[in-house]
Symmetry: D2
Subunit: 77 residues, 4 copies
């Protein structure tokens, strides 16, 4: 599962609107041609970008713990 | 572990620069006052925002699978 | 003789490009929908906005001198 | 009498605010560092940019008429 550029851009655009960065949202909407993307904005929950980033962070932490466990196990063998 | 607004904003700013959205990067840099944040840009690897979002997606997929397994197990009991 | 909004906006847009305000030119081009105006850019000489403003200033100065002369003449009568 | 860049920029900035180009005003304010200029905004009347441009146009029309008269007079000699 991968995100398209349009999807990433939409997440960012929405974050800007939600966070009060109205001028940046305008520039980014124009420059990334958000109006021409086929994203259905209603299907994107509020705070989606932050949610994804936070879950990404958790994933990276878990990966790092798993790797440490693996190393400990390798050391035992 | 949580990201601060400054960190989220910096990830977005960097993404814009890396993706050629130079006008948006300018607006967002100004509007989010990126220059006044204390982020050390050199410590942020290229493509960091995309990496976090992709890992977040993976995490959500795994969570969803785990929940499905849990439901199957509950049904067996 | 009067200028339309489209003409004023085009003069400003051109000034921004000529003066190196590229991000502002982008925002203003988008926000004023410059691409949809029917101005033929080639018919607008370089520095047109500055020329108009300077001539406007000269005009105002002359007007003010003429008014002063008028007042002096009125006082003589 | 000449206008400084700061003065020209301030006239444009004010025009954008008065005309509802809020995103462009933000970008231009940042890019031209309007906040660091020493213009006293209160001394600039509403619609100043348009006034200057219109007067400039009038001046150019008068100049052009004067030149035509001069040519006619030269032709008579």
């Amino acid at each position: 599962m991968a995100l398209s550029s349009d999807e990433v851009n939409f997440l960012i655009y929405r974050y800007m609107l939600e966070s009060g960065f109205q001028h940046s949202a305008f520039s980014f909407g124009s420059e990334s041609m958000i109006a021409k993307s086929s994203i259905n904005g209603e299907s994107v929950p509020p705070g989606a970008l932050i949610t994804f980033i936070q879950k990404g962070l958790q994933y990276i932490e878990i990966e790092s713990q798993v790797n440490q466990e693996d190393e400990k196990l390798s050391a035992l063998r």
